[in-house]
């Protein structure tokens, strides 16, 4: 019923127009190699400043959906994943295009992206409020344990070594200390700069780390990313509709359903996101296939698995963002920044205090999925042409938008400097193969982690025992230990394997 009210709220001309514009913008940026859904959100965020909360956040949702889906175009036609969540789409999508079956691959990718997104949206709409109700019963011990678990999984499961992931996370936590201590109200690490009393603003930190560092990497490689290898010389088969029969569609569902479950679960786990889910679903599809040896040579099931999973992940990531206020990946961190700009705090109380807004956002998410499906299906040829825009031209425009975004966050020139400095930091970390997601999640969650632990110990007069006696906290603390243990075990095995290999 509330969802219907949500649809009523967004069925206004300006909101629907913004959703369409957001999806188209996200699709275009997501389709360009090297630019992800995060970049799309960074570019579009400044444009939401003057909008009402419903319009602004619906627009960002649409950009997110478009950005995540746009990557399939370049993955299939160029063999270059537009976004990291489309990596596995390349494995079979590009070989299909080389065989002259690009339209069939694109048809399957579009349809199953839509199905994956819709499954995510439905689960989000129905499970979200229930999870929020449960989360309202959590006390400070439980929140401390959940946040600790999130930080550990983000660090342990991100790319590269666990040591680098944890160091990146600790760096983010350190940046989270800057500003006023929430319990004692003392300034920490502000070095006499009063403008830092509220700490670093999330928007310039995120934009600097991801967008500014990207232009520096591009400069270093001097336009290497602009090289485009097309399939224009290959004659493509003409097909009707999506390029496959209803019978084939039913057979693809066998791959799509488990892939969407994988996508949802990965989305719910903080720190993983579409980058991991598409690869995991692809490997699951390959393992369970009767012809695993054909994967990689142009099998539609490979495209179906990857695209269903990465779109279902979006719904999963939004579940924990809306209900617990935990951003699962870089793109959802940016959406969280969008929430903050409009004075909306994601978390379990959101469903109680801003019910109308939440259901409007959920409705916008569903409509954005429908819009993306229609736009991508009918506007495919146009997007293919857009792929010829070189990143040498596009990235400087992104930087200008980032400067605007950082400045408008607080009308504070210091934020621009912070953005540039975090850009340098992001570049250095990327060059040294430190993952950035743990830094961002550490930065966002550090103040909550500290506050909840200190509050818990104030309640228990310094004793840890009651924290362990809370069932939810105990489960998450055990999971944290398990996650660390499992990752360390994996690292040791990997090292032993390397030593044996030598």
């Amino acid at each position: 019923m509330e969802l219907l009210h949500g649809f009523q709220t967004i069925f206004a001309f300006d909101t629907l127009f913004l959703i369409v514009a957001g999806v188209v913008g996200g699709l275009i940026i997501g389709a360009l190699p090297g630019l992800s859904a995060f970049t799309a959100l960074a570019i579009m965020l400044p444009f939401t400043f003057g909008m009402e909360a419903v319009n602004g956040i619906s627009f960002l949702m649409a950009v997110y959906v478009g950005g995540c889906s746009g990557g399939l175009i370049s993955a299939i036609l160029l063999g270059i994943p537009g976004t990291p969540s489309s990596i596995a789409t390349c494995f079979d999508g590009y070989p299909l295009a080389k065989k002259g079956e690009a339209k069939k691959a694109l048809g399957a990718a579009i349809l199953f992206s839509f199905i994956g997104g819709l499954i995510g949206a439905v689960v989000l709409s129905f499970a979200g409020p229930h999870i929020a109700k449960v989360a309202l019963r959590f006390n400070s011990y439980d929140y401390f344990a959940i946040i600790l678990f999130s930080l550990t999984t983000v660090s342990a499961l991100s790319e590269g070594s666990i040591v680098k992931g944890l160091l990146s996370c600790l760096l983010g936590i350190t940046f989270g200390f800057v500003g006023t201590d929430s319990l004692s109200s003392y300034y920490r690490y502000t070095f006499g700069i009063n403008k830092l009393a509220n700490g670093f603003n999330l928007v310039p930190v995120l934009i600097g780390l991801f967008a500014v560092s990207q232009i520096m990497l591009t400069a270093r490689e001097k336009a290497a990313s602009a090289k485009v290898v097309g399939i224009s010389d290959i004659k493509q088969k003409e097909v009707k509709g999506f390029g496959f029969s209803f019978k084939e569609f039913l057979s693809y569902l066998k791959t799509a359903i488990p892939s969407s479950i994988i996508g949802l679960l990965i989305g719910i786990l903080p720190g993983l996101g579409g980058n991991v889910s598409n690869l995991l679903a692809y490997s699951y599809a390959k393992k369970t296939s009767k012809h695993p040896e054909d994967f990689g040579t142009g099998v539609v099931e490979g495209v179906v698995a990857s695209e269903t999973a990465n779109n279902a992940t979006v719904g999963g990531a939004l579940i924990i963002l809306l209900t617990l206020g935990i951003p699962g990946d870089n793109a959802t961190s940016m959406i969280m920044a969008g929430f903050q700009l409009h004075d909306v705090t994601p978390g379990p109380l959101l469903f109680k205090t801003s019910g109308v807004l939440v259901y409007a956002i959920l409705a916008a998410f569903i409509v954005a999925n429908v819009v993306f499906f229609l736009v991508e299906y009918y506007g495919l040829s146009l997007f293919v042409k857009m792929l010829s825009i070189p990143s040498t031209l596009l990235l400087p425009i992104v930087i200008v938008c980032c400067f605007v975004g950082s400045y408008c966050a607080n009308n504070n020139s210091l934020d621009i400097l912070i953005m540039v400095l975090f850009g340098f930091l992001g570049y250095m970390l990327k060059r040294n193969k430190f993952p950035l997601a743990p830094l961002v999640v550490g930065f966002i969650l550090a103040p909550s982690l500290e506050t909840y632990l200190r509050r818990s110990l104030m309640k228990t007069e310094g004793s840890f025992l009651p924290v362990m006696q809370s069932p939810i906290a105990a489960v998450f603390l055990i999971l944290t230990v398990f996650a660390v243990g499992y990752t360390v075990y994996g690292e040791i095995k990997k090292t032993q394997g390397q030593v044996r290999g030598n």
């Binding site: 003057g50 936590i173 319990l183 520096m216 270093r220 408008c408 030598n502």
Partner: protein, 166 residues
């Protein structure tokens, strides 16, 4: 000059160690609160200690890394002077410094054009069509952004101290 993965990790480990020491040292300047058991210094110190331990692990494990593994995955990279990168860093800093003096539109036009030139391959400098497109985009994008923010969103972007004084 070639900088191997091993050396990079050693440098990164040392940098993190120095940063951890800095965080721990500065924590002495935080006034000690007695409102709760842990106080306002506990978390920064705890983080600094963990960071110190992990940076030590990174440094030591990198030193112990077998030399033969270094170049196996092609991770060793040339570390010469990269003019495009240096110019991009310089352009970003100058963009920040000048935007407040000259305002958003003029600074952004200059920045966009310069940044595109830095990123463009050298052979494109003589391509008149590409240069014209670059120039047109450099002018149109800032003007359009300023128009949208000023006229539609009613948000003023930096006008520039120089022009404010005039």
């Amino acid at each position: 000059m070639i900088v191997s993965e091993k050396k990079k990790n050693v440098y990164a480990g040392i940098t993190f160690l120095l940063f951890a020491i800095f965080i721990y040292a500065v924590s002495f300047w935080i006034p000690e609160s007695k409102s709760d058991v842990l106080g306002s210094r506990f978390f920064p110190r705890c983080t600094a200690v963990f960071m110190g331990i992990l940076s030590g692990i990174l440094t030591l494990s990198s030193i112990g890394f077998k030399k033969s593994e270094e170049t196996k995955d092609g991770s060793a990279q040339h570390a010469g002077l990269n003019y495009s990168l240096l110019l991009t860093c310089l352009a970003l800093i100058l963009y920040y410094l000048i935007i407040l003096q000259l305002g958003f539109v003029i600074t952004s036009i200059v920045y966009l054009f310069c940044q595109c030139l830095i990123l463009l391959p050298k052979e494109d400098y003589r391509n008149k069509k590409k240069m014209m497109i670059t120039l047109a985009i450099s002018v149109l994008v800032p003007v359009a952004i300023n128009f949208i923010f000023w006229k539609i969103f009613m948000i003023a972007l930096p006008a520039g101290n120089l022009f404010m004084r005039i």
